[in-house]
């Protein structure tokens, strides 16, 4: 397969930490508009893969292309974010001493220079977008709350809201339902399916119910490379996948 017609293209990617190969000859391709679920046991390298895509970690070897042409290994975190790749972290990271609304204001796509920020005035359009997002993530009643005072699940949602505000082409979502109630989990799956209608989404998750609800192609990672790929049923019937999960 060629990188040209893909949204995200990883080929032969490897990275080691102190001699330990966290990612080992990993290849993965995502088409524009696709939603993909990544599963795999703890330590499989799922988060590290996201680190590589978003420029936090530089791979030792391999190609990482975005939009078929942009070599992501040559860009840093801020540049990659501006290319249109948004990320939700495994541990929810919102700005705790800012209000819910300010968290979204900071994430909202737009100029990022210090000068424009110093003299920034919120436009009607921006206010409207924030309103929409607050509604989508069901925090419209809590816009003035400090993010620190939100529940764990609400923080996860706020972070998804921040992703939406960034208006990225590709969303990387790391374990979005960890610590959520069943009802919240179902809601989150619904939200992500909604988002995936207009953007590409890569979701890392352990929760099999959740993955089933996403109704997406599944890739199973193990020891830093792809173990199996296909529909959820296909992957979960793969003998090696069963071994990896049972062998834990």
């Amino acid at each position: 397969m060629k990188a040209q017609d893909t949204l995200l293209y990883l080929d032969g990617v490897s990275v080691s930490f102190d001699g330990f190969r966290a990612i080992n000859n990993l290849s993965l391709v995502l088409q524009a508009g696709e939603m993909r679920a990544i599963i795999g046991p703890n330590g499989a390298g799922k988060t590290t893969m996201m680190d590589i895509i978003t420029g936090k970690t530089k791979p030792d070897a391999g190609d990482v292309y975005f939009n078929g042409e942009v070599d992501l290994t040559r860009h840093d975190e801020a540049e990659i974010a501006l290319l249109g790749i948004g990320r939700k972290f495994q541990k929810p990271t919102v700005f705790e001493s800012h209000t819910v609304e300010d968290n979204l204001v900071l994430a909202l796509s737009g100029p990022r220079s210090a000068f424009s920020a110093l003299f920034h005035k919120q436009s009607a359009n921006e206010a409207e977008r924030i309103e929409d997002i607050l509604y989508t993530i069901r925090l419209n009643g809590k816009r003035d709350w400090l993010a620190a005072n939100l529940s764990h699940g609400q923080k996860q949602w706020l972070e998804i809201g921040m992703l939406l505000a960034q208006d990225p082409k590709l969303l990387l979502v790391d374990e979005p339902v960890a610590g959520m109630t069943d009802a919240e989990t179902a809601e989150t799956a619904k939200l992500l399916r909604e988002i995936a209608k207009t953007r590409s989404v890569l979701v890392v998750e352990h929760d099999m119910h959740f993955v089933r609800e996403l109704d997406a192609k599944v890739t199973c990672l193990h020891e830093g490379s792809v173990l199996a790929e296909g529909s959820l049923d296909f992957v979960s019937n793969d003998q090696r996948v069963i071994e990896v999960y049972l062998g834990r």
Binding site: H98, V105, L106, L118, L146
Partner: protein
């Protein structure tokens, strides 16, 4: 119109502080110059200069709070920017002495004659002009901060490592300025000033005007800080303080934001130093002493970091304490200062102003819980430092 513009950029507390500072900028000189010495409201000249000196420290503290309190950059070398601003002003004051020096050289300051120098070093040129010197007061600290920050922030030096190299910076300057051949008066520094802008520097009127200028510059610094902090840029800075890498993943060039606020802060510190020197009458290398920069950190911590106003209170209170203790019990001052720092760190993590803030938050919280069981919405400017939150 103007008031409306003003209050979109300053909160109530900042507005009160600015009003108070402008008021004392007028009232203190009036009291000193117009009231008879017998009046209980008369402020003697020595006290005017003493408070003026405290206010220059307060200005340094506000500058430090801008980077430490709001952006998480703990500078242990801000005294260097203060001292550089002070030296720039000192050089102007030296050139004003003219032929009135001990050696009566029309151009060369006494220490240069003493060192047998025949002509003015190149970097002393222009300092006979006040406005040139005033420009250098901000440009020299600003340029040093810019260069230093450019290197440090781009290579992502943070936390303790950054603090240590800021400390090294001021120490290096201390050693450099001690050397006679640096051309800044070596060990003795610059002193014996005669006049400023043509006014006798010892005169009560001049002293009062210097005081007024200090109070007004401090008010301006409060305004500039509030303007920055309440802008979107300020929100980015607080975001950097709390979760720097998260900010990068949102597409912000964190190093540039840091560089901006760091350079502004250094310029403020330079102005503080420039106002300090004519009021104390001397600038020497001891102003680069690392301990000075650490003391400034203590003022900010005591007053409350991340509050803009707190550092003013901290700087004035601690220095009143210092003046009192070093006169009454000179041997225990350092212990008192150390104890104060420990107490504040352990029991008042947000300083004096934070104590007031958390008391107000508690009341609001209590009221909100009465209404419904939800936690209170808290305006971000009241509580800046993230605290571990109790689970709901």
């Amino acid at each position: 119109m103007i008031t409306q513009w003003f209050f979109t950029h300053v909160d109530r507390r900042g507005g009160i502080a600015i009003a108070l500072l402008v008021a004392i900028a007028f009232l203190v000189p009036l009291s000193n110059l117009l009231l008879p010495e017998t009046s209980p409201l008369h402020i003697p000249t020595y006290l005017v200069s003493l408070i003026g000196k405290y206010l220059t420290y307060a200005l340094l503290a506000v500058a430090l709070d801008l980077v430490w309190g709001f952006c998480g950059i703990l500078s242990l070398g801000h005294g260097a920017f203060f001292a550089l601003g002070g030296y720039a002003m000192g050089m102007y004051l030296m050139r004003q002495i003219g032929p009135r020096g001990v050696y009566a050289d029309p151009v060369l300051p006494d220490f240069m004659v003493f060192l047998n120098w025949k002509e003015l070093p190149w970097f002393w040129h222009g300092f006979d002009n006040f406005w040139f010197a005033a420009l250098m007061v901000v440009l020299v600290p600003g340029a040093l901060a810019f260069g230093f920050g450019w290197l440090a922030f781009r290579s992502r030096v943070t936390g303790v490592y950054l603090s240590i190299i800021t400390q090294a910076l001021t120490y290096a300057l201390l050693l450099a300025f001690f050397r006679n051949d640096m051309g800044f008066g070596g060990n003795n520094g610059l002193t014996d000033f005669k006049d400023i802008l043509g006014f006798n520097i010892q005169a009560g009127t001049t002293r009062s005007m210097l005081f007024a200028a200090t109070a007004l510059f401090l008010a301006l610094a409060v305004f500039v800080s509030s303007f920055i902090i309440r802008s979107k840029l300020g929100k980015v800075l607080v975001g950097v303080r709390d979760a720097e890498s998260r900010m990068r993943f949102l597409g912000y060039r964190v190093d540039r934001y840091k560089l901006f606020v760091w350079t502004i802060s250094a310029m403020m510190a330079g102005i503080a130093g420039a106002l300090y020197v004519p009021q104390v009458g001397i600038i020497n290398p001891s102003e680069f002493e690392p301990a000075n920069s650490i003391e400034a950190v203590i003022w900010v911590a005591v007053g409350g970091r991340g509050t803009i106003i707190g550092p003013i209170i901290g700087a004035v209170l601690v220095n009143f304490g210092k003046t009192y203790f070093t006169a009454a019990f000179p041997e225990i001052w350092l212990f008192a200062l150390g104890a104060l720092f420990i107490i504040v760190t352990l029991f008042l993590p947000k300083g004096i102003l934070g104590l007031y803030g958390s008391w107000k938050t508690k009341l609001a919280d209590h009221a909100a819980r009465k209404k419904d069981s939800a936690p209170p919405p808290v305006a971000a400017e009241n509580v800046h430092l993230p605290e571990p939150q109790a689970a709901e």
